[in-house]
């Protein structure tokens, strides 16, 4: 076990190193951080050259990378080129907001997906199953920007126009210490994310349940005279939900990255917006900082999931 964990950790470090190189190159080649100043006649050629030197952009790319890596290894993700704030501080400011949005979404998604998936599996090929299946495909196919904007237009803009109680667009200044305000502002972004994610998860639960319901031990349980509820929830669901737990576990690190589109539409001050906002300005210390946090989380959670699997399923051995 320990030799496996050591080996995976060493592999993970190499993986992270490669990820940082790729992210660095992609970010640097995506645009010049000083391009926004290019057409500004107030900045002379000397001003631009001085700024480039101060930001270290005049140095060869490998030197820029190793300088950044050297600091990152010491836990210093550097400073934003433009806001001059430490990147770790900027991430710490946004991370709680993203965690609240994404974990709420995950919990709601899993809850709804379980209900819909089980219902769909138990009533296979019935009208209920067909309706759930159709809505799943529709939900899965709708681009998130469309559902997010659509929900806002209906439940915020149109509801107000129709004189009905309406939900906030998220763009107002609201008190984050007021739980009622918080929940009101969470409803639309969470709904937009849930529509897309539930579709995929519910299909997963449905197929998993169908597989389990056809197994011998379920038939045996029924033959023993157990009620269908007990068979379903105590015997079938326990095994059917196992892969779902793994799926959720693997999704957790990605939640740290936030949801760029949803956070943008609803002005949610999270990691996704931080990434997008600074990526547009080619402020690569911020972009790399966010990417490093997310990729480290992915790598770490993958190892943890692998290890946990041995506890969940004794048939699996790590070697």
């Amino acid at each position: 076990m320990w030799s496996y964990i050591t080996r995976r950790t060493v592999q993970a470090l190499f993986t992270l190193l490669i990820i940082t190189v790729l992210c660095f190159l992609l970010t640097r080649f995506s645009g010049d951080p000083l391009a926004q100043y290019a057409a500004n006649p107030r900045m002379s050629a000397e001003d631009k050259a001085a700024l480039r030197e101060r930001l270290g952009l005049n140095q060869p790319l490998p030197i820029q990378y190793f300088k950044w890596l050297g600091l990152a290894l010491q836990g210093d993700l550097g400073q934003s080129f433009f806001s001059k704030q430490p990147v770790s501080e900027m991430i710490a400011q946004r991370l709680p907001n993203t965690l609240i949005l994404m974990f709420t979404t995950e919990i709601v998604t899993v809850s709804i997906a379980l209900v819909l998936g089980i219902l769909s599996a138990v009533k296979q090929y019935s009208a209920t199953d067909n309706i759930i299946t159709s809505f799943s495909f529709v939900g899965y196919s709708i681009p998130i920007f469309f559902s997010a904007l659509g929900l806002m237009l209906i439940f915020a803009v149109q509801f107000k126009e129709w004189g009905l109680p309406y939900l906030p667009t998220g763009a107002a200044v609201w008190d984050k210490k007021d739980p009622v305000e918080y929940i009101k502002n969470l409803i639309l972004p969470v709904s937009a994310l849930v529509i897309v994610q539930t579709a995929g998860y519910s299909r997963f639960v449905r197929s998993s349940m169908l597989e389990v319901l056809g197994l011998d031990y379920v038939r045996t349980a029924r033959a023993k005279g157990l009620t269908s509820k007990v068979v379903l929830y105590k015997h079938a669901l326990r095994n059917a939900a196992l892969p779902l737990v793994t799926l959720v576990g693997l999704d957790i690190p990605f939640l740290l990255g936030g949801a760029i589109v949803t956070e943008s539409v609803y002005s949610w001050p999270g990691m996704g917006r931080l990434f997008w906002e600074y990526a547009q300005r080619s402020d690569y210390p911020v972009v790399l900082g966010v990417l490093l946090i997310v990729s480290t989380a992915v790598v770490v959670f993958t190892i943890i999931t692998d290890v946990l699997y041995t506890f969940v399923d004794p048939r699996i051995r790590l070697s």
Binding site: S83, I252, E277
Partner: protein, 597 residues
């Protein structure tokens, strides 16, 4: 295991909520109650009696006070203008840290902290133009009650030119040899050489941003770029003071009790950081925000359809979109202005340049894409006092354009594209046009492509992200390397007409990668003519030079002024703001903002 995982998830959410609640991300400055004797909605015109500050803290927001919320789709980086070139940051600067003077809605240069504008007549501008004397208003105070004096102006200059401070630009300030402060109200700027655009220093205009910095807070410090005050000044000279700023979320501004023109009418201004104009538009419709300042011309029709629930305001700006030809010559002209890449050969013929200019229906672009709100500019400096009013726009004339191309020797080929001889080489009038991915640029380029196809010119638009389009020389940016045929972007008045975009010495090449002559056009006459405008501070003499330069550029069809850009604002009907002009946005007199319920 599953239960444990869900417990863990719940723990995460709980921890996040606690973190968020404890936050600590906002930095709040203390605020005091408004003095009971002060009329909350009146704008005083008198300075505080006997030179005493009206307060030492921003005026607290009273119950039921007047408040507006703006939406910005970019969060300002540094509010002190010398450390940023970001428009959104400069807009907040206008609300919080003012300069010696500014341009008003009628494009007049009017005093702010200064008592008057220096002129030759009032002795503010010396006969040789090398000494500018500014007089400050009496009884000026910072928002914390500290007197604002000439020492603050002198410190501001010292901070800008101090090599220990990483300012974004020193342009102009580095021409000042010394600053004298004979008394608390007098500042004497001694220039080492003539600097005719002196009005752009320590002042706030359409594209320049100055402000006076507090010596009592920043004096004796260096590396100011990392100073908290630079990022978030909690003491100011503008109508409002920043009292709270939650990164990525919002900022709150409360009235400055010591603002030189009196207390602002509004009791609070909040600025919410949103992702884009679509989010801002929905928020305007629900009244969640009161104004959004950054719509593009392409949004005019959308906002217009929402009136009167959303109010549309479009003001023709002094910026304009221009198309231009790459006129690079690898050998330069008389050894000056050598480019690394040779421009598209047919563009060296004035007839071809003129034909392309006449072959584009610019008025149709203004009428359709800009809903007729702006106009086709006549020259380089539209909507300003520097415009050469004797020039007229040459209208769309495809027949004349075709005739000119015939004269130049380019005849229609079998594929409908003209071919001719250029320096002994058979050349097709087929070339690329490079610009950014902004929607209005895509629409305009598509219209131009169709127009030029009618006269046998194959114009192929290439849209690249701004970061690549304006990329630096070493990264192969098309503009800097001259690796393009035609190009287009927005340029303008900043707010002095001097430009080094036409100088032979500014043509970028491997030795001068930061050169700003992206037309790669070395015309020694034009280059020297524009440079001669730096030889005098006499405005009339400079106007004559600039008139001639505009005429010369127009007659040689070096650039095609396409359309004046519009400043497009969306606001709620309750938000009342003052008039805007080509050189001023809504922030220039924010102390007069009001709400009407």
């Amino acid at each position: 295991m599953k239960h444990k995982l869900f417990a863990l998830l719940s723990l995460f959410v709980l921890a996040s909520m606690i973190l968020s609640a404890c936050g600590g991300t906002a930095t709040e400055a203390p605020a005091t109650e408004a003095p009971a004797t002060e009329a909350p909605t009146a704008v005083a015109t008198e300075a505080p009696a006997a030179c005493a500050p009206a307060g030492t803290e921003p005026i607290a927001f009273p119950d039921g006070g007047k408040s507006v919320t703006g939406a910005f789709d970019q969060e300002p980086d540094s509010i002190v203008p010398y450390f940023t070139q970001m428009s959104f940051a400069v807009w907040v600067t206008q609300l919080t840290l003012v300069g010696l003077a500014e341009w008003d809605d009628q494009s007049n240069f009017v005093p702010e902290l200064a008592a008057e504008i220096p002129t030759t007549e009032n002795g503010g501008v010396s006969a040789d133009g090398l000494t500018i004397t500014w007089k400050l208003k009496d009884c000026l105070f910072w928002s914390d009650g500290t007197p604002l004096t000439s020492a603050d102006v002198k410190f501001t200059w010292e901070a800008i030119v101090d090599p220990g401070n990483a300012v974004a630009t020193k342009t102009g300030y580095d021409k000042i040899a010394s600053v004298e402060t004979p008394d608390d109200l007098t500042v004497v700027l001694n220039f080492a050489e003539l600097y005719p655009p002196w009005q752009t220093l320590f002042t706030q205009g359409p594209n320049n941003s100055g402000a006076i910095l507090p010596v009592h807070i920043l004096g004796g410090q260096t590396a100011l770029e990392s100073n908290d005050f630079i990022h978030q000044p909690t003491v100011g000279t503008g109508p409002f003071v920043i009292t709270e700023w939650v990164p990525g979320d919002f900022m709150t501004l409360l009235p400055n009790p010591n603002f030189f023109a009196g207390r602002a009418i509004l009791d609070r201004v909040q600025i919410r950081f949103v992702a884009d104009s679509a989010a801002a538009l929905a928020a305007l419709q629900t009244g969640d925000v009161d104004w959004y300042p950054n719509y593009s011309e392409g949004d005019i029709a959308t906002i217009s359809a929402l009136e009167p629930d959303v109010k549309l305001t479009v003001v023709a700006g002094s910026d304009f979109e221009h198309y231009f030809f790459n006129l690079g010559r690898v050998d330069g002209v008389d050894g000056r202005g050598k480019a690394d890449n040779e421009g598209f050969c047919p563009f060296k013929d004035i007839n071809v340049r003129k034909a392309i200019t006449l072959g584009i229906n610019r008025q149709a672009i203004v009428d359709t894409l800009l809903s007729g709100f702006t106009a086709v500019p006549v020259s380089q400096w539209p909507n300003t006092a520097w415009t050469n009013t004797n020039l007229t726009v040459e209208g769309y004339d495809p027949d004349a354009a075709a005739a000119l191309l015939d004269t130049a020797g380019y005849t229609l080929g079998a594929d409908g594209v003209r071919v001719g001889d250029c320096n002994g080489v058979s050349t097709k009038l087929s070339f690329n046009f490079e610009t950014t991915t902004a929607p209005i640029r895509i629409d305009a380029a598509t219209a131009v492509q169709a127009d030029l196809a009618k006269i046998g010119v194959e114009f192929t638009p290439i849209h690249t992200p701004a970061g690549t389009f304006f990329g630096q020389y070493v990264d192969g940016g098309p503009l800097t390397t001259g690796n393009y045929d035609m190009g287009g972007y927005t340029t303008g008045f900043y707010p002095d007409p001097y430009t080094d975009n036409f100088q032979c010495e500014s043509v970028p090449n491997a030795e001068k990668p930061d050169g700003t002559n992206w037309y790669h056009n070395c015309d020694p006459f034009l280059s020297d003519l524009i440079d001669s405008s730096l030889g005098t501070v006499d405005t009339a003499a400079r106007k004559a030079i600039m008139d001639e330069a505009q005429k010369y550029i127009a007659e040689n069809y070096y650039v095609i002024p396409m359309y004046a850009r519009g400043d497009v604002f969306g606001s709620t009907p309750r938000f009342i703001f003052g008039p805007m002009g080509p050189q001023s946005n809504i922030n220039w007199n924010a102390e007069l903002w009001d709400v009407q319920e």
